[in-house]
């Protein structure tokens, strides 16, 4: 078996706060294979962004603390690297794009200036060559008249264009792994479709792996091969995207899928959307037993006291629930 591109084992991340030590991510493990697109899905506060940031060690430590676990990039444990080695990895082997391209780009530097920076840091290219490379990259992400755009400042570009610039920058050193944190959430649907298509085609060209973080199951269906569903700092279900969306095993996954209004679903008069009642639990008030039990329609007595373990199901799937798969 070839080594997975990214192998996260037993990762636990906590934050020191005035209210004590709070656990944001509780012992999650997952693998991302070469050339695969893996989606990490969950609602705000479930720990998906914290997990992603920890891979690049971008969390401020303290207050954050990675208290246990391993993050292996092709077998190399990123948690044991020093600051300098980490910088060599960031933007070179792993790069990241963020939700809001306006805040991720530097507003007082031109696009060209920001793009060249990556090349000068990680390669031996001269400034002139780096500029030429930047033009190539911009045209690869389908930005019209790329040469002129180098002189532009972020505020002169639209949201979609800014996200394209971010993607172009992240591709500068042909990374093995691209982490995309809600890359299309701030964009309009038409632009979202363009960006997703772009990511897809770039992945095919470069053979890189993508870890995409999203709350939009539609996006998952569109580009991911495998999915992890996170709830309250834990992975509650994982599996191949199609199988998971068609036949969810965990009540939370089932609820999420049901609460999305579907286009073309026949609207009955007075029909209501299926909703998940209650709110996402906060960090300091994680429920006992299964963290989903206060919102779960099927919860039984056991769910209040006993935490369900991840179980294996057919077709490389996992889920954590006390109930049998057929009983939902």
């Amino acid at each position: 078996m070839p080594l997975p591109e990214l192998d996260i084992q037993n990762l636990k991340i906590s934050f020191s706060t005035p209210k004590g030590k709070l656990t944001a991510v509780n012992r999650i493990s997952f693998k991302l294979n070469k050339g695969e697109t893996l989606a990490l899905v969950g609602e705000s506060g479930c720990g998906k962004t914290v997990s992603a940031l920890s891979i690049l060690r971008l969390l401020p430590e303290p207050p954050a603390e990675i208290s246990s676990g391993k993050i292996l990039l092709s077998g190399q444990n990123l948690l044991s690297l020093n600051a300098k080695d980490l910088r060599d990895i960031r933007g070179h082997s792993i790069s990241m794009i963020f939700q809001d391209p306006m805040t991720a780009l530097n507003p007082v530097l031109s696009i060209g200036e920001q793009m060249v920076e990556t090349f000068l840091r990680h390669t031996d290219l001269k400034r002139k060559e780096a500029l030429q490379k930047s033009v190539d990259l911009l045209s690869r992400v389908e930005i019209p008249s790329p040469k002129e755009k180098l002189k532009y400042y972020p505020h002169q570009l639209s949201g979609g264009m800014r996200q394209r610039v971010m993607i172009a920058m992240s591709l500068a050193c042909s990374p093995r792994l691209l982490i995309a944190d809600e890359p299309t959430t701030a964009l309009d649907v038409l632009t979202q479709a363009q960006i997703l298509e772009l990511l897809e085609s770039l992945k095919k060209e470069n053979g890189m792996s993508i870890l995409i973080i999203t709350h939009d199951l539609g996006v998952v269906a569109e580009i991911a091969q495998r999915v992890l569903i996170m709830y309250a700092g834990e992975i509650v279900e994982s599996g191949p995207a199609r199988a998971l969306l068609d036949n969810p095993l965990h009540p939370y996954t089932k609820g999420l899928i049901a609460s999305v209004p579907k286009l073309g679903a026949l609207k009955k008069l007075g029909a209501r959307l299926d909703e998940i009642s209650g709110n996402v639990p906060s960090l300091e008030q994680r429920p006992s037993g299964c963290s989903f039990h206060p919102r779960c329609t099927w919860a039984i007595e056991k769910c209040k006291t006993q935490k369900p373990q991840l179980r294996e199901a057919e077709g490389q799937r996992q889920w954590s629930c006390h109930l049998e798969p057929g009983s939902l």
Partner: protein, 336 residues
């Protein structure tokens, strides 16, 4: 003797005057000279749109960011003044009214904003926020107001526990419920919902949409529902208007829009939505580029730069909104 607005409302309902009638509404943000004395172009945020909303009906207003949807909402309620046009609410033209009369009519028309955090005062408690509408509209009895505020909280699915809390202590979904409670406090006939679920989590979105549907039935509210999410709009609205760069390019019943969209832009919007269900292999319409800036002047159809079926005529003439099927209006020369 001048009749009160409510009396006139009742009379006009009997005469079947539409709840809201918008005629040729325009809002231009006019050119200002900047410090370098350069002329800056005017922005045609809303460029001559017309529609009606009947009583009990929900109209969806769809479009990408920058197309002018929110400007329509604010102009309708006179939160900003229009450049020209007419908005009749139960037959009364709002733009003719003095501020004091307008304030009275605002009892009947309310708005729910996209971001619940920025639409409430962070320094006031939830109870306080909910009593404000009553105070503004001359109910000075504090005890009664507090009681009404409590009832409102319960109506939108919160509890008396939340009464003394402050906005930062609530989650986004809970705070949006407060926003809704405030909007329905004075029993309005018409509510503008400006992207009410866009800032919320998926599982919370469904809760809020269901709440809005319940209130519609219970209180007989008509909505203008602004959204960029075509799936939510289909679920929620009776009729849909699609906006592009300040103009309505297609307006029809939900069923017509979703079953037989006629404008290439509507079709593209529908196609761009990522779908959950398997099986359907969809034909994507290649839409390139971004929405152009409303400040850039161009002749002809506003959508021409991105349109897959553009022809010579589209560069020269502006297509008008025309009825192409019963109650189905489209602004395109080469509609599907």
């Amino acid at each position: 003797m001048e009749l009160s607005f409510r009396t006139r409302v009742v009379m006009n309902i009997k005469k079947e005057i539409p709840l809201l009638e918008v005629v040729d509404l325009k809002k231009y943000f006019l050119p200002t000279k900047n410090i370098l004395e350069m002329q800056v172009a005017s922005v045609r945020a809303v460029d001559g749109i017309s529609f009606t909303i009947s009583k009990g009906e929900t109209l969806g207003l769809v479009g990408e960011s920058g197309c002018g949807k929110s400007t329509v909402a604010k102009t309708l309620l006179r939160l900003i003044e229009p450049t020209s046009g007419q908005v009749s609410f139960f037959g009364t033209n709002l733009f003719d009214l003095k501020n004091i009369t307008m304030r009275n009519i605002r009892k009947e028309m309310q708005i729910i904003f996209q971001d619940p955090y920025s639409s409430v005062n962070p320094a006031r408690s939830i109870g306080n926020i909910l009593q404000e509408p009553f105070e503004i509209h001359n109910c000075r009895d504090k005890k009664e107001n507090a009681e009404k505020a409590l009832q409102l909280l319960e109506r939108v699915g919160l509890t008396s526990e939340h009464f003394k809390k402050y906005p930062h202590e609530l989650s986004g979904g809970q705070l949006q419920r407060v926003g809704i409670a405030r909007a329905i406090a004075l029993n309005p006939k018409f509510v503008v919902a400006d992207e009410p679920v866009a800032a919320l989590d998926v599982s919370i979105q469904a809760q809020i949409i269901n709440l809005l549907l319940d209130l519609k039935e219970e209180l007989d509210i008509s909505y203008l529902f602004i959204s960029h999410d075509m799936a939510v709009v289909e679920y929620f609205c009776d009729r849909v208007a699609v906006m592009y760069l300040g103009k309505i390019v297609e307006i029809a019943s939900s069923e017509q829009i979703y079953k037989s969209p006629k404008h290439p832009y509507t079709l593209a919007l529908l196609n761009a939505i990522p779908k959950l269900d398997s099986g359907k292999i969809k034909q994507r319409i290649p839409i390139k580029g971004d929405i152009s800036s409303p400040a850039s002047l161009q002749t002809g159809c506003a959508f021409q730069s991105r349109c897959p079926i553009k022809e010579k005529r589209c560069e020269e003439e502006i297509p008008n909104l025309q009825e192409s099927a019963p109650n189905h209006h489209v602004a395109c020369f080469f509609k599907q």
